[in-house]
Assembly symmetry: C2
Homo-oligomer: 191 residues x 2
DNA sequence: AAGTTCGGCAAACGACTGTTTACTGAATGG
DNA sequence: CCATTCAGTAAACAGTCGTTTGCCGAACTT
């Protein structure tokens, strides 16, 4: 059922999805839906959890890397690109419903992204570059990184469905932007 | 009719909007819709144009400002916050349909955001800080600014519908992030 | 072996949907 | 002053929708 919904949401919106549509795609009867979910919103929330599990893995994989700033940036962008390629339906779902019409789903996604930002912030605090940074500054930097990751993932998403030519340009731009942010980090003097 | 649609889209999705729904809200008969639009997608595109007109004014108002980096940042964040406050329905529509389920609308929004980035890039090229910057670097910076503006606007959007307490925290975070980017700019040595 | 939960079905309910058709009054233009 | 466009209407079409109900077999528990 989750798979059927995810497949339908490839070129559709959660708010415009229908119970019958999902069950038809899943090869079940309409009544079967209510055995598993009370609402379509509930199915949406379940999809959020499913999608975020893989995202969590990805973020940890980026944070766990060690090495110079340059290699870390290259690795991060590569991981994002590969993740979008391998979990396109999930990523598209998150990107589409993050500001979508179903409040419950929106809030679930935002809460989890906030948790990601906290995790990133904790990891940043351990890096030597962050010596002397206030907690507020760390949090602001973490949010900047998460927002940038989301933007980059969305850009990859739309690029991979069109010409794969633009894919490398997006990666190059993302790397430059991360380099610029990293540069600002090194010269930061606190707020 | 446009106003009726925009009002409906406050807590709904363009893809889940109905012809009858719109005409009912507008106080017209269902058939009247087809006098003005062939599709609901067409109404969406019309709303994109309407929404982007005010955005254009806002961007120019930010770019036209002169002064030190600090004052410029403060002014930019204030303008964004005020713009979201005064055009909440339009901004919400753009934020929601930017990655929404209607291809035509998505592409219209992205094309226009690209034009905004070009405009910002041209303005950045005129600033003394950008001496020696390649065109690619300027473009990359412009896109970073536009993406940051979009993220900040979305954050304001959701904050203003909840506690207005978070509003000032978002503004503060956005200002810090812009300061960090500005710092990276000053120490950039080309790609 | 008996009972209970689980996941599934067909059928039915009224309500709502997009779109077309034929018709109407007002404004506009020559 | 007549013709034409414009912006609206009511009515009807065949579908689709969400949800509830009663029923059923299989699987698990005890």
């Amino acid at each position: 059922m989750l798979d059927a919904g995810l497949h339908l949401l490839a070129d559709q919106n959660l708010a415009s999805l229908g119970v019958r549509e999902v069950t038809r795609e899943a090869g079940l009867s309409p009544a079967a839906f209510y055995r598993h979910f009370p609402d379509l919103a509930a199915l949406g929330v379940a999809l959020v959890e499913e999608s975020l599990a893989s995202l969590h893995v990805m973020i940890r994989s980026v944070l766990a890397e060690a090495g110079g700033a340059e290699e870390l940036i290259d690795r991060a962008v590569d991981v994002i690109e590969q993740h979008v390629r391998e979990h396109r339906p999930h990523v598209r779902f998150l990107s589409r419903e993050r500001h979508g019409g179903v409040r419950q789903v929106r809030e679930a996604i935002d809460a989890e992204l906030g948790r990601f930002a906290a995790e990133v912030g904790a990891a940043l605090a351990l890096q030597p570059v962050s010596r002397g940074w206030s907690e507020q500054d760390l949090r602001m930097l973490a949010e900047l990184y998460v927002d940038h990751m989301v933007s980059t993932a969305s850009a990859f998403l739309e690029a991979q469905e069109a010409e794969p030519d633009r894919e490398e340009r997006i990666a190059a731009t993302a790397r430059l932007q991360l380099r610029l942010i990293s540069l600002g980090r090194r010269h930061w003097q606190g707020s």
